[in-house]
């Protein structure tokens, strides 16, 4: 399964980068989201994946004695997901507003060629 996830991460990165390199702003945001997902999954995988052992202390105990999933990557990813939502929401609204003002979502047309 780890191999499969690693392949998925690679695919997410590739797709994200490919979309970021496009001229359309909407695609750029989609690319950012995919790239973020890829990064989250990468952190998750590198913390090693464990099946069916969530990092939750049983009611009857004070500490976990058993093997359990690493909580640190999870905490990290949780933060990352929330922050990336902030970024995405802002970016989506920004694109919307920018489109209303300049009537294009083509990055090249937004460029001012002053030089």
């Amino acid at each position: 399964m780890e191999i499969l996830i690693a392949i998925c991460i690679g695919l997410l990165y590739a797709a994200g980068i490919f979309l970021i390199l496009r001229r359309s702003l909407v695609r750029l945001i989609l690319g950012l989201i995919l790239l973020g997902n890829g990064a989250n999954l990468l952190i998750f995988l590198l913390g090693r994946i464990t099946k069916g052992k969530p990092p939750i202390i049983p009611d009857s105990a004070q500490t976990i004695a058993d093997v359990y999933a690493d909580p640190i990557p999870q905490a990290l990813i949780l933060t990352a997901i929330v922050i990336s939502f902030g970024l995405q929401a802002f970016a989506i609204i920004l694109v919307k507003r920018a489109y209303r003002e300049v009537n294009t979502d083509d990055l090249d047309q937004m460029n001012t060629h002053e030089q």
């Binding site: 780890e2 499969l4 922050i83 802002f90």
Partner: protein, 767 residues
């Protein structure tokens, strides 16, 4: 000693003050400072206190100490720097009379003098380097002193780039040397010479140090900055470009002779470098008609000869170097000062026009003749003795005495002619009517050159003044063995005397035989395309052009191209590293087995990623993006991350909703990019994605360190009374981080809100 070096710097700072009506008084008395330094060192010399080494801590605050070393070589230089410096200050005060920035020039001169003194007194190589760079910088200001002239600025820049670039090269050499010797003190390095010379890095060090010296001392092919530097006011040329700064390179080579010298490589490199320079520049000196041009090229030639002699490296040749440095400084500074007087009084420096000036300025003419005699090596001048020693050392060279001697003889003949052209020709013949009103300048201008020229003669008649201990100490510090010989004018009839005779007779004959015209000079201008200066300028322009091109490509204003370049670069670095170190020994026993539903989820994930990328419909793309998020959410569910799954689910849904809400206001996807760019981007992104996947697999091969996780597992209930460890980390252990995160989210929310509410008036819109 510290005071002697610091004094010029303090003076330079003092001269920044605007003096207004005391300007003249200050300018005319400032020479007292170098004179004081000169008398201090002279007194040291006379009392026989040479060979002083010492340390001087600057202060308690700056934990930096200067290591001094005052041996014969340093002493020769400090006496020249402060002695000639005194005369230059006196001269400059008169020469620059009425110039609004006279004091500023003196400030720069003073700065330079301090740097030069520090350079020749430093024992620590990094101190030496520091002062070395300071001389480059102060000479930049001095050459570009007439900063309103474009040519002047260009020359200054050229000199700075060549000498400063050489300085950097030298820095590399000194660093390496210090690393190998594990000391930065030159005195300590001398004892380690055997190790240094045997080190595999020795040739590198040697080449770097020689390059540093060659740029400073204007050796071929770096000589071109020196004629350009003649744009400086004449006192500056006399001081920097004849007596002191250009000799810094020679000083450096001499100073390092006991450390890295003496090998065959060193000998041949220096003999070739110096030999080419002295012949090339002496020939050029004959072709010049501008007085300063003649002096500049003959100086380059003389410097070449010094390098050449250091290359030979025998006791006689090192003594000859010491002698020649002194002789050359005396007569060349005198000639420069004379040129300055001629230029100042007649407004011309063209030797085809200047004639008969002896009739209006006889003391200057006397100085000119004496300097030319010393330059020519006619007895009883000091120059004669210098030439004798040079011939003596080439004649006794073990490998190629004939060739070396003839090179030196030819150079000397040409230099003799150049010296007479500069020192005698303007004063000979009949005075043209145009110059009949020319008069003798004030005393403070003609006394310094006359004094220098007379000294050149006087030392020749009474050589014992400089023989012991100055010349003996120089030989001692360069060669390591004390020298017991004596300086004398007369050695009896021998080959050396014959060579001197040949030089003088041929030189004087040719002086009268050769026509002086600007026609010859005009002929060689056709060859300037091949000159090092021209090639250098081309390279500099090429760099400029390249920089413009690179900027146009890299900084083109297209953000995604920046990303592309960064990714391609990082990707190739990563690929290089991985290609060398990847092992691919995945231990399958560690891995989790793939169940059917997991396989299905992964399949959905892959398909939806492809849909997001390739769909032409925005709605499909956004929806597939949502599916990607959901699939990842499922992976979190399978692999024990319930909190992540919940958050991912919420956020993903919110994002899709938000997207769809604004989507209908946005334009449709249009096919904007060309196919070839698609392919290029695809190659980069797939390559990078592959690298990340490989990296992930490679990391999986190593077992992680779980101590921190274990801490949280053990303590989240005990310390924070929470059973869900992830939650406890976020709200308790890393609570402050979460607080900041909330702030970031709030800022984003404020941003979103204000973007939605923002009303831009038509007039403010960007067209």
């Amino acid at each position: 000693m510290l005071l002697a070096v610091l004094l010029p710097f303090l003076l330079a700072i003092f001269l920044v003050i605007p003096f207004r009506k005391y300007e003249s008084l200050v300018a005319r008395t400032v020479w007292i400072v170098p004179a004081g330094i000169f008398s201090f060192f002279l007194q040291t010399y006379l009392s026989g206190n040479t060979g002083i080494t010492g340390k001087a801590s600057l202060s308690q605050i700056i934990p930096y100490s200067l290591q001094w070393n005052l041996d014969g070589l340093s002493l020769l230089f400090v006496l020249m720097i402060s002695g000639i410096g005194t005369l230059i200050f006196i001269y400059a005060a008169a020469y620059m009379k009425g110039h609004p920035y006279r004091i500023r020039l003196m400030g720069f001169l003073s700065l330079f003098m301090g740097a030069m003194l520090g350079l020749v007194l430093s024992d620590h190589v990094m101190n030496l380097f520091l002062f070395w760079e300071l001389t480059s910088i102060s000479s930049f200001f001095l050459i570009g002193f007439n900063n309103e002239e474009k040519a002047s600025r260009q020359s200054a820049l050229k000199a700075l780039i060549v000498t400063g670039g050489g300085g950097l090269i030298l820095f590399g050499g000194l660093m390496l040397l210090g690393q190998i010797a594990s000391t930065y003190s030159i005195n300590e390095m001398i004892a380690l010479r055997g190790n240094i010379v045997a080190d595999p890095f020795y040739p590198v060090i040697m080449v770097l140090i020689i390059l540093g010296a060659a740029t400073k001392s204007a050796q071929f092919p770096f000589h071109f900055w020196l004629p350009g530097a003649m744009k400086a006011p004449t006192p500056v040329s006399a001081y920097l470009h004849s007596a002191t700064m250009v000799k810094a390179g020679v000083y450096l080579l001499a100073r390092f002779t006991p450390v890295i010298g003496g090998t065959e490589l060193w000998q041949y490199t220096l003999i070739a470098l110096g030999g080419i320079t002295m012949l090339y520049a002496a020939f050029h000196a004959l072709l010049r008609t501008d007085l300063k041009g003649i002096l500049a090229y003959s100086t380059i030639s003389a410097l070449g000869m010094m390098v050449f002699l250091i290359g030979i490296g025998t006791e006689a040749s090192l003594l000859a170097v010491g002698m020649f440095i002194l002789v050359h400084a005396l007569y060349k500074a005198a000639l420069f000062l004379i040129t300055g007087i001629i230029d100042h009084e007649t407004g011309s420096r063209d030797i085809t026009k200047l004639r008969g000036l002896r009739k209006v300025m006889w003391p200057v003419a006397l100085a000119g003749v004496l300097a030319a005699i010393s330059n020519a090596g006619i007895p009883p001048s000091l120059g004669f003795m210098g030439k004798d020693l040079i011939y003596e050392s080439t004649l006794h060279h073990i490998f190629q005495p004939i060739w070396l001697t003839s090179a030196v003889v030819i150079t000397n003949i040409m230099l003799l002619i150049a010296g007479f052209n500069a020192g005698w020709r303007p004063f000979s013949g009949n005075l043209p009517s145009a110059f009949s009103k020319v008069h003798l300048p004030e005393k403070s201008m003609w006394v310094p050159p006359l004094l220098l020229a007379v000294l050149g003669l006087g030392f020749g008649i009474i050589p014992s003044v400089i023989e012991s201990p100055l010349m003996q100490d120089i030989v001692m510090s360069l060669h390591g063995v004390s020298w017991a010989g004596h300086l004398a004018l007369w050695h009896g009839f021998n080959t050396v005397l014959l060579l001197s005779g040949i030089t003088i007779v041929t030189g004087i004959a040719l002086y009268f035989a050769l026509p002086q015209s600007s026609k010859i000079a005009a002929k060689i201008t056709g060859l300037t395309a091949l000159s090092p200066e021209n090639i250098w300028t081309k390279i500099a322009l090429g760099f400029n052009f390249l920089a413009i091109k690179i900027t146009a490509v890299l900084q083109n204003g297209f953000l995604r191209l920046y990303i592309l370049i960064i990714l391609a670069f990082v990707g190739s670095l990563l690929a290089y590293k991985l290609a060398n170190q990847i092992y691919f020994t995945i231990d399958y026993s560690y891995l989790s087995p793939v169940t059917v539903y997991e396989a299905i989820i992964v399949g959905i994930l892959i398909v939806s990623i492809l849909f997001t990328v390739f769909s032409t419909s925005r709605l499909v793309a956004v929806a597939s993006m949502g599916v990607v998020g959901m699939a990842i959410c499922m992976i979190f569910v399978f692999y024990s991350a319930p909190d992540l799954a919940m958050t991912q689910f919420t956020i993903d849904t919110l994002t899709v909703v938000l997207f769809v809400l604004v989507l209908y206001r946005l334009p449709k996807f249009i096919k904007l990019t060309f196919a070839i760019r698609h392919i290029r981007d695809a190659v980069v992104s797939i390559g990078f994605g592959t690298l990340i996947a490989l990296l992930a697999m490679e990391v999986l091969d190593n077992q992680p360190d779980r101590t921190v996780s274990k801490f949280y597992g053990d303590n989240s209930y005990v310390l924070a009374k929470g059973k869900n460890i992830v939650n406890v980390i976020i709200v308790d252990f890393r609570g402050a981080d979460t607080l900041v995160e909330i702030i970031v989210l709030s800022i984003a929310a404020i941003g979103v809100f204000s973007l939605l509410k923002l009303r831009i008036r038509q007039s403010q819109k960007i067209e």
